[in-house]
Structure formats: C-alpha cells, structure tokens
Symmetry: C2
Subunit: 386 residues, 2 copies
C-alpha cells in the first residue's frame, strides 16, 4: 500500500522530471516505466549511474537541468498562483492519456477549478489553422458553441485562428473548454490571447506539460498535439493547409483509435486542402456539432446513461453534491439560479455541471440544465447505479 | 446463327418498343429477357395474349400506344435527321448498360458520330444541381476540362447548372462529351441549351431512350439517371441539395458498383449539403480531375495499356485507322494537324482520338495527342496485342 509520503515523493519526483525532461521523450518514458519516477530522479540528481538509450552529451544536458531543479519551490509557487500538478494514477488524472504509452506526460500542470478527469471523459478537440479564413473561424466558433450546447467539453490549443474561435464559441455558449498549451500554464501564449487564456483559466482549464515559466518551441507544439489527441474522444480539423500541424493532431488521434473528423470547405481553398486530404483517408466528414456528437457519443458513454450515473452520489465531492442538490426536481434551471441555490459562483457551478454531465447526472437543455431521467430514477429508487 | 433479316427484325422490334414502353420498366424488361423483343412486339401488336405482371388498364394503355407505333417510319426519319438507334448486342452497344438487368434500355437513340461503345469505356459522369452556385459552376467546368485533358469522356445530363458547365468545360478543352437526355434526342431540352446540345451533337454524342419527339417528364428524368450511372466508370456529384436528383444518380452508381465521388463545399452551403451527406456514406471526396482519374483509372483500364492496345489495328474502322496513321511517330500533334493528315474534320478527328484513347493507342499530351508507348511497341514488333 502506498503511504502519504510515498505519494508526496512521487509527486515531487515528477515535478522535478517535468522540469528536467523534454515532453514526449519516449526513452525517458521507458525509464519511468521500468524504474519509477523516484529512482529516475535519484539517478539524475546523483549524476548516475547513466540511464540507457541516451548519448553522453544528452545525459550531461539532463544533469545540468537537474542541478537547477527545485521541485518543492516549483510546487509551492505554483500552488500559490492557483496551479496544481496532476500525476498519473492521481484522482484527477485523465486515464486516457495512458494510451500514449512511454510518451505519456510525466504529469500535467493545471490552472482552473474543474476536474480534468471528469471533463476529459466527454471532450472533443477542435483544431485547425492559425491563419484561418472567415469561414474557418465561423465553423470553429459554431462547432465550439454547438458542442458546449450538447454538453461536451471543447479542447483546443489556445492558438490564433481556429483554436481561439473554438474556445470562444464554447465560452460564449456558457460551455466548458480546455486549452492545452505548449508552454508553462502560468504564461499566456500567444500574447494576443492573454485575455482569452486568462478567461479559460477562470471558467475552464488551462493545462500543459511544461513547468511554470516554460517557453514554447516548434517541437513542443508538435509533441503537445499528442496530448490534445489522447485526452479527447475525437479530433475535428476545421481548416488546415497541406502539412499543417493540425493534421498531425488528427493523425495522432487516428493512431490512438480516437475519432478523426474534418469540416469540408471549398475545393478551391488551400486552407481546406489539408482537411480534404484527411477526409480522403479515414476521417469522417462533419458539417455541424450534431454530427460530431453522433460519432463521438456512440460508444461507452451511453451505457452509464442507460443504467444511471456511474458514480454514487455519496462519492461526489461536496461542491458537486451541492450543485446537484440545487437542480430542480422537474425541468431545467439556468446556471445562475443553480449557482445561487448551491451558494457558489456561476463559473464554479458550470464547472461542476459539466463534471456531473460526464457522470450522467445532468444534461443541458437549451441554456439551462436539468437532471437526467436516469438520475431522477436513481434518486426515486434510492440507488445510484442500476 | 442470326441472319441479317433477324437483326433488322430485332432492331425494328426495339424501335417499336422504345415508342411503346416507358424507359426503365422492369416488368417489360423481364418480358424481353424471357420472350425476346420480337415476341413482345408481336403480342403488343396483336393485342395478346396479355403479358404477365401488369394490370389490365396498363396493358390497354400499351396497346393504345402500340397501334400508333410506326417503327419503319421512325427509323427512316431518324436516319434522315442523322440519328441512329443502337440496340443491346449491336457493335456500338455499351456493354456496361447490361448491368442494369431488366431495367436495361431497350435501345438508345444516338446523335453524333463517335462510337458510343468506345467512348463509354473511358467515361466519367459529372452531375449536380441545376441552380448551382458560382463555385459549383466553376468546379464543374474545371473538372470537365481536366477530365478531357486526361483523355476521359465527360457524361452529363445536359441540364442547366452543373451539367451544362461540365459539358462546356469538356468542349472548351477540346474534349469529348456525352449528353444523356430524358427526351427525344431530336429535341433540345432545356430550351436555353439548344445551342449547347446542338454543339454536343456535332462534336460529341447526344443520347437517350425516348424516341424522336419524346418529351421529358419528372419520372423520365429520374429513370434517365440510371443510364448516366451505368454508362460511366464513376459519377462525380459537384453540388446537390438534400434530396436532389443527382444524389439518385450517385446512389445508382453505388448500387452498380461504380465509383461514387463528391466535390466538397462550404458546410454552410445548402447546395453542398447533399454532397456532404453522400461523402458521409461511401463516396470518395475529390477536389480535382487528377483525383477522379486516380480513382476511376484504377482497374481494368490499365491492363491493356500495359500490354498493348486491346483491338488489333486491322479491326479498327477505316476512319480511326486513318487518324491513327496521321499521328507523328514521335511527340504530339494538335488535333487540327492530325485532322489534316487524316483528311477529315477536326471534330471527327477528336471523336476518333477519344475512341483510340479508350483502346490504348493514343493519349493526350497538353493540347495535342501522341501515340502511347504501347502502341509504338506494338507497331515496332508487328503485333497489336501482347
């Protein structure tokens, strides 16, 4: 059995590794799998014995970084600034990231209140070109809003163009959105999205593998994309030129067995050419949020809805229980009213509502929220599972 | 063995039936299969015994039509006006129409010089909305031109919008095109396409199941679509709203095992919604002629090219032999020059060049035509097949 201090040691080791290792390093991922985070940390702190599969020069580079790492300080500063660090196996760890194998993140830095694990359960990635057309921005915003209205969480990369439009669409519809950054989550990149990313951190989640202060590089954008692909049920590419980074996200989703979708555009548009290339392989053409939901909602998720919520009420955190109790017995209520009943802020109520949505307790109804039929039955019959 | 007068009897019987039966009537198709055209003609002329699978009222209707039919006069008038009637099994019959089973046309009325059988071998249908957008017209014209430049014959329905743009694109690129009408081929429908259809009859082929003077009806448009689908290697839908007739053509192509393709458009366009619906089923997304050719050229056709032309030179008709002889031994020549060498008109030379293209003798090269490598080898080695 693991003790509290083991868990703290594992957490600190992984904070240390998040500063020392480069995201997506599969060789290091193998060390972690074979030796455990604390042993790998020890070797790097002690300068050896050298680990396998790496040149002397790169090993020396890691030791340089290791000498400067101060995980306790990192963690304290992060907590001070409202960030947390989530590690594999922890309560809020999204298990689907384990599909990445040795490329799994050593941990994720998180800004924002909602449960990452719960939100990721019902999430879809909407990605695409930074320099998108007006059509691309329109489609991304419409999809973001439509997915939010269907009770799905919109995941994207926080970039200009399609990403930003998708986040804004979700936020504008009173929905849930997650930005996965290629830099430290205390930074706002790109600069022009400072306000947007700040708002996402307040109303949703901003996550990333880089430690506080970490800066984005071209290769970090590429490895970041695998997290977007793995975290979600499926990836929709809205606009992408040939050889666009969004196509890499889509291909990663395909390799991981996630749904891969593309929004068509004029055959004359270079910014749709990459999407069309994708649609000529295994991706599914989607024109609106309903078609996305039809596809990503087709497996796994329906089962708990048919037989009642997956998690007993008693195991919900107190905040979620309060929000659940604030829902009317019949019909829907707006988030404002639910927040009042639960004595919390509207942002917090929405965060909790999307968590409860993942668990099958509630569903969106226009701009409001209501109990699912299954949740009502489970209350009436005094049971929380079928 | 069938004699000349048998053949003439069969031809006249089918001319008679093309006036009496409604195109696509599968019950009548079964009579033809089981009893032969001449026996069916006899029963209809004699007023019985009544054939199976039909109400008394419909039988009486057919007898009314039969009393007015004058096949000898029809055929003579048609020949006078430069039309011919091609029946199953005849030299110019496109064998792929036999895939229609009992819905196979009893025969086809044809205006234009080229060989229907040869042209159909390497043909693609380009169809779509009558009230298309500027984008749809642009894509249809570009595809029509591109297919012609790749040496493929463009088949469509002669209608306004996408059909007309596809025909014009092919003609404009010095290419081959076939209009399949839902009325008598002596008529120009729609009226506004009188000039276009006349030009197609001069430079290409205008074909249809209805006898001279036959007028189009809504149901005739629908049954006409199966001929477009069956005649060609594949069908491309350029723009189509939900429940559009072009989608029926595409579905018929799918049922017949032909390639079905769609040109994407903005997800916001109602005129692309039907195409997107198609692309969400089994159709392949195509953005240009090269992608169409890649798909439709992938089977059957390549074999004869690899091992030499399919038909020995001696069996070519004298006109085709003259055109073939007019091609330069090396490099390409424009149709004008080839026509001069073959002592014929440019239209006739182009018609023959597309026939020779189907047989693997020649290929387009920019605006000109040249011998295929296989054709040159077969000449050099004194053989016409490998």
């Amino acid at each position: 059995m693991s003790t509290g201090s083991d868990q703290e040691g594992e957490l600190l080791a992984r904070v240390f590794l998040s500063r020392v290792l480069e995201p997506g390093d599969e060789v290091a991922g193998r060390w972690l799998r074979e030796l455990g985070a604390m042993e790998v940390e020890g070797r790097l702190r002690d300068g050896g014995p050298q680990l396998v599969g790496i040149t002397d020069k790169r090993w020396a580079g890691l030791l340089d970084r290791a000498r400067e790492a101060e995980p306790e300080r990192d963690l304290a500063a992060a907590r001070e600034a409202g960030m947390r660090f989530v590690v594999p196996g922890a309560g809020d760890w999204p298990g689907q990231l384990d599909d990445l194998g040795d490329a799994r993140p050593v941990g994720l830095w998180v800004r924002g209140r909602p449960s990452l694990r719960m939100w990721a359960l019902r999430s879809v990635a909407v990605v695409g070109a930074r320099a998108c057309t007006g059509y691309g921005a329109h489609m991304a915003a419409t999809l973001g809003a439509g997915l939010a209205e269907h009770g799905w969480v919109v995941v994207s990369g926080g970039a200009y163009g399609v990403d930003g439009a998708a986040h804004r669409g979700a936020l504008g519809a009173g929905g849930a959105t997650v930005a996965v950054l290629a830099c430290g989550v205390d930074r706002c990149y790109p600069r022009g999205h400072t306000e947007l990313i700040t708002r996402i951190a307040e109303q949703g989640l901003v996550i990333g593998e880089l430690p506080p202060g970490g800066h984005p590089t071209p290769s970090r954008f590429i490895v970041r994309n695998r997290v977007i692909a793995a975290l979600t049920r499926g990836t929709v590419v809205v606009e992408a030129a040939h050889r666009s980074g969004s196509l890499a996200t889509a291909r990663a989703a395909q390799r991981l067995g996630r749904h891969t979708m593309g929004v068509p555009g004029p055959a004359t548009s270079a910014l749709s050419a990459g999407v069309h290339e994708l649609l000529r392989s295994d991706a599914v053409l989607v024109s609106d949020a309903a078609e996305v939901v039809e596809l990503v909602g087709d497996m796994g998720e329906l089962a708990p809805e048919r037989c009642g919520p997956v998690l007993p009420r008693d195991l919900l955190d107190p905040g979620a229980r309060r929000v659940l109790a604030a829902l009317p017995g019949r019909g829907a209520a707006p988030p404002r009213e639910i927040a009042r009943g639960a004595q919390t802020t509207q942002d917090d109520a929405i965060a909790k509502l999307y968590e409860l949505r993942s668990l099958g307790y509630v569903e969106r109804h226009g701009d409001g929220w209501k109990l699912t039929r299954q949740a009502m039955i489970s209350v009436r019959e005094g049971r929380s599972r079928c």
